[in-house]
C-alpha cells in the first residue's frame, strides 16, 4: 500500500555541489537517484576501497542507511516555516573537543570540502538506490561519518526533496508499525504528524501561538478540523497524512487545508479540504491535463 502511495507522489529534485559542478539528485517513488554519475555504484565501491567520495555518492549512501531511521523525522523540516540550515553543523565533530575541555563555540568546519572526482557526466539516470530493508546497515559510512552526519547531509537537500524523504521514512515506519516489534514507531509517527500539522496550521491560520489537540485516527476514519477561534484546534488525522498529503506538498492548496487524499486517478487528485472559515470539508480537485 505504501509503495503504491509513494509511487503516486511527484518526483522531486535537489541540486548539490559535487565534483566542482552542480549535480542533480532526484527522488522518485521512494528511491533516490544521482543523475550525473555514470557508474555511482562503481564509484562508491572505489570510495569504500580508499578512493575519493563526492557529495552525490555521500547522499546516496546516507539515504540508503537512513531510509528507515526514525531520527530522520525529528530532524527534517516541518515545512516552509521551519527552515533547516545544515551548513556548519557537523555532529561527528561534537565529540571531538580536545580532551578535558568544555566546548565554547558553536561553529564547526563545513562538511567535506575538496572531495572531488573527475568522471563522465551524464544526463541519464545511471543508478537507483533501492531502499534498504529496515534495519539494514546499508553501505559502509566513511570513516568519519556518523548517523547524525548522514541526517545532516540529507536534511540540507532542497525543501521539496526533503518532503519526499519524510514521506518515504514515514512509509517505512508505517509498515514497521504493523509488525509485532513495531509498536515503538507509534510515538515517532505521532510526534511527526503533530509537528508537521501544527507547523502548517500555525502558518495557515496566522496564529503563531496556536495550541493543537491532535487526535490520531485510523486510515478509514474521516479526518476533521474544528476550532472556535480560541483555545486549541482539534484536528483528527491519520498517521498516513504525513506521507500522502504533507509529503506531497499538498498541505495547503488554494488557501485550503488538506485533510486527506480522497482519490488519486492518474493526473487527477481529489483532496478533502477545509477553508479558513472552518466550514465542512469539501473536495478540491487538482488535475494536470
Amino acid at each position: 500500500m505504501t509503495d503504491r502511495a509513494l509511487s503516486q507522489l511527484p518526483a522531486a529534485v535537489a541540486r548539490v555541489a559535487c565534483s566542482e559542478e552542480t549535480h542533480t539528485i532526484r527522488w522518485e517513488a521512494g528511491d533516490v537517484v544521482a543523475l550525473d554519475h555514470a557508474d555511482p555504484e562503481g564509484e562508491r565501491t572505489l570510495a569504500a576501497l580508499g578512493g575519493q567520495s563526492c557529495t552525490c555518492l555521500d547522499v546516496l549512501g546516507a539515504w540508503t542507511r537512513r531510509r528507515g531511521d526514525a531520527a530522520m523525522l525529528s530532524a527534517l523540516s516541518r515545512g516552509p516555516a521551519d527552515p533547516v540550515h545544515n551548513e556548519g553543523v557537523r555532529p561527528g565533530r561534537f565529540g571531538a573537543y580536545p580532551a578535558g575541555t568544555v566546548p565554547r563555540n558553536a561553529l564547526y568546519p563545513r562538511r567535506g570540502g575538496g572531495v572531488v572526482r573527475s568522471g563522465a557526466i551524464s544526463n541519464s539516470v545511471s543508478m537507483t538506490v533501492v531502499g534498504a530493508p529496515t534495519g539494514s546497515a546499508g553501505p559502509p559510512a566513511s570513516a568519519s561519518s556518523t548517523p547524525e552526519d548522514d541526517i545532516v547531509l540529507l536534511a540540507g537537500l532542497s525543501h521539496e526533496l526533503t518532503l519526499r524523504l519524510a514521506s518515504t521514512v514515514t512509509s517505512v515506519l508505517l509498515e514497521e508499525l504493523k509488525t509485532p516489534k513495531g509498536a515503538s514507531m507509534g510515538p515517532v509517527l505521532e510526534a511527526s504528524l503533530f509537528g508537521r500539522a501544527w507547523a502548517a496550521l500555525r502558518t495557515w491560520l496566522g496564529t503563531s501561538d496556536l495550541e493543537l489537540d491532535l487526535e490520531v485516527i485510523g486510515p478509514d476514519k474521516d479526518p476533521g478540523l474544528s476550532w472556535d477561534g480560541s483555545g486549541s484546534v482539534h484536528l483528527a488525522l491519520p498517521l498516513e497524512w504525513v506521507m500522502t498529503v504533507w509529503g506531497a506538498d499538498l498541505t495547503v492548496i488554494a488557501g485550503r487545508f488538506s485533510l486527506g487524499v480522497a482519490e488519486r486517478d492518474g493526473a487527477r487528485t481529489t483532496l478533502m479540504s477545509i477553508g479558513t472559515d472552518l466550514g465542512p470539508p469539501r473536495p478540491l480537485i487538482i488535475e494536470i491535463p
Binding site: 521551519d82 553543523v89 568544555v102 566546548p103 558553536a106 545532516v152 510515538p187 505521532e190 495550541e211 486549541s232
Partner: protein, 434 residues
C-alpha cells in the same frame, strides 16, 4: 492540554516527543528565550523516575531532538549536543590539600597594589589567588570571581596581571607560578597561579616576586567522614532533586511544576496524590522563602533563615578533601560569609557537578550542597560561579540564606545519591555583624 502546552498523552514517549515538538519551532525559541526546551529534560527525568520510560530510550529521543535543534539554531544545538558528552564517563583525579591559608596580605609591586588572598599547598603544586589594582584604581574589595571576562569600560591595558610569578618558601625552594584563570576590568584584576613544583606546606612564609608574606599559623585540617544515606524512592528522589535544581535557582523553567504535571499527564500519579501535595508545599516554601505550617525537615529549618540578613562576616580556611563521594573528589578550600549568605570555594574532579548548563543538562547536579549548624539550621548552596574542565572544575557554591550569627560550628554535607560527606568547620574567626 498538559503542562507548558504539551498535549496530554498517556504514553510517556509520545508525551516526551510532543514536548520536543513544542520547543522546536524557531518562533517558539524566540518567545521563550535561550533556555527554552529545558522542560524536555525534566519530562524525561520524570518519566524515567516513574519507571514508565527506559532511560536509554528517553536519552535517544532527546538526542534526536538535539540534532534537530542544531539544524535550526546552531548555538542551542551545540549546547544540547554537549550533554551527550557529559554522559560519557570522565576520568577524574584525586585532589589534595595539605594546607590552605586564606589571608588578605596587601603589598606593592611595581606600580600596582596587590593582595594575596589564598595559598593552597597540594600534592603536585601550590596555588595562589592574587588580585591587583592600578595606582589610580579603587581598592579591590570584591569577592574573587572565576572565569574569563573581557576588559570593562575603565579597563586596564590588556591582561594587566603578570603571566608568571617567582615564589619561594622558607625551605629555600624557588618555583615559578603560571597564571591560570583570571579576569580584569574596572581598574583591577584577579588571577590564580599554579606553581610548577609544590612548595613546602610547613613553610611559615612565602615570597612573591621578592615580597615576603607571613602566612597564618597552620591549623588542623577538618575531619572528613562519609555516611551512607537512606535510599529514597526514585520518584521522590527525582522530585526533591527538582526542588534543588540549579535550573530553578538560575531562573529557568519551574522544573517542579513541569515534573508534577508530566507525572499526572502520563498517569503515573493522580492529581491529588499525597506525594505531589508534599512536593508542591516544599517547592512553594523554598521558592517563597517563608515558613509554612507542617513543613517537614530539613525544609522547615532551611526556610527559617531565608529572610535573615544577620550573617557574620569574614573568611575561613577549610583545607579539607573528600577523596571519593560517589566517584567525585572534592577539595573544600575556604568559607566566606557575609550578611546575606555564605560561599564555599571548592574544586571538584570530575568537574561535572560544577559545569552546569541550566535548561540543557539531562540530569540535575549529582551533588547537593547541604549544610547544617549547631543551632539546628539547615542550609543549601548552589553553584555560583567558576569553571574548568570535565576533569577538574573550581568555583564556589553560595547558600540561599545567611549563617546564623550564634552558630559556632557548620557541618558541610555535600550529598550524592548514595553517600554524603560530613565536614565540621569551626566558625570562630568570623566577625559578628555590626
Amino acid at each position: 492540554m498538559g503542562c507548558c502546552g504539551v498535549p496530554k498523552s498517556a504514553d510517556p514517549e509520545t508525551y516526551l516527543r510532543l514536548a520536543c515538538e513544542r520547543v522546536l519551532p524557531s518562533e517558539g525559541r524566540r518567545n521563550n528565550g535561550p533556555q527554552s526546551g529545558g522542560e524536555t529534560a525534566v519530562i524525561s527525568r520524570a518519566c524515567i523516575a516513574a519507571g514508565t520510560l527506559d532511560q536509554a530510550r528517553a536519552h535517544q529521543v532527546l538526542d534526536e531532538y538535539a540534532l534537530a535543534m542544531a539544524l535550526r539554531d546552531q548555538h542551542r544545538g551545540r549546547m544540547l549536543m554537549h550533554r551527550r558528552r557529559a554522559r560519557a564517563p570522565v576520568e577524574g583525579q584525586r585532589l589534595s590539600a595539605h594546607r590552605v591559608a586564606v589571608c588578605e596580605f596587601h603589598f606593592e609591586r611595581s606600580d600596582q597594589h596587590w593582595i594575596l588572598e589564598r595559598v593552597l599547598f597540594a600534592d603536585d603544586a601550590t596555588h595562589l589567588d592574587l588580585s591587583g589594582t592600578d595606582p589610580a584604581g579603587q581598592m579591590f574589595n570584591q569577592r574573587r570571581r572565576g572565569g574569563l571576562v573581557g576588559p570593562g569600560p575603565r579597563a586596564m591595558p590588556h591582561k594587566p596581571q603578570p603571566q608568571t610569578l617567582t615564589v619561594r618558601d622558607d625551605q629555600g625552594t624557588t618555583v615559578t607560578g603560571h597564571q591560570g584563570t583570571g579576569s580584569w576590568g574596572g581598574g583591577s584584576w584577579q588571577s590564580s597561579y599554579r606553581t610548577d613544583v609544590p612548595l613546602s606546606p610547613e613553610t611559615r612564609w612565602i615570597e612573591v616576586d621578592g615580597t615576603r608574606i607571613e602566612l597564618p599559623e597552620r591549623g588542623p585540617a577538618p575531619e572528613v567522614h562519609l555516611e551512607e544515606i537512606e535510599r529514597r524512592d526514585p520518584l521522590r528522589a527525582m522530585l526533591y532533586g527538582e526542588i534543588m535544581s540549579t535550573d530553578r535557582r538560575h531562573g529557568g523553567d519551574d522544573t517542579v511544576d513541569i515534573a508534577c504535571r508530566a507525572l499526572v499527564d502520563i498517569g503515573a500519579l493522580g492529581e491529588d496524590d499525597p506525594l505531589l501535595r508534599e512536593i508542591r508545599q516544599i517547592a512553594g516554601a523554598v521558592a517563597g522563602g517563608a515558613p509554612v505550617p507542617g513543613l517537614a525537615e530539613p525544609w522547615a529549618s532551611l526556610v527559617a533563615r531565608f529572610s535573615k540578613t544577620d550573617g557574620p562576616q569574614g573568611r575561613l580556611a577549610i583545607g579539607a578533601v573528600i577523596d571519593d563521594l560517589d566517584g567525585y573528589s572534592i577539595r573544600l578550600d575556604a568559607l566566606t560569609s557575609d550578611a546575606g549568605s555564605f560561599s564555599i570555594s571548592l574544586a571538584v574532579s570530575p568537574g561535572t557537578p560544577l559545569l552546569r548548563f541550566p535548561g540543557v543538562d539531562l540530569d540535575p547536579s549529582p551533588i547537593v550542597w547541604w549544610a547544617e549548624d549547631d543551632r539546628h539550621n539547615a542550609y543549601v548552596a548552589f553553584f555560583d560561579n567558576g569553571g574548568g574542565s570535565e576533569n577538574l572544575a573550581e568555583g564556589q557554591v553560595t547558600s540561599l540564606a545567611a549563617l546564623d550569627p550564634r552558630a559556632t560550628e557548620l557541618r558541610l554535607l555535600p550529598t550524592a545519591s548514595r553517600t554524603r560527606a560530613v565536614i565540621n568547620v569551626p566558625l570562630a574567626g568570623l566577625a559578628s555583624p555590626t
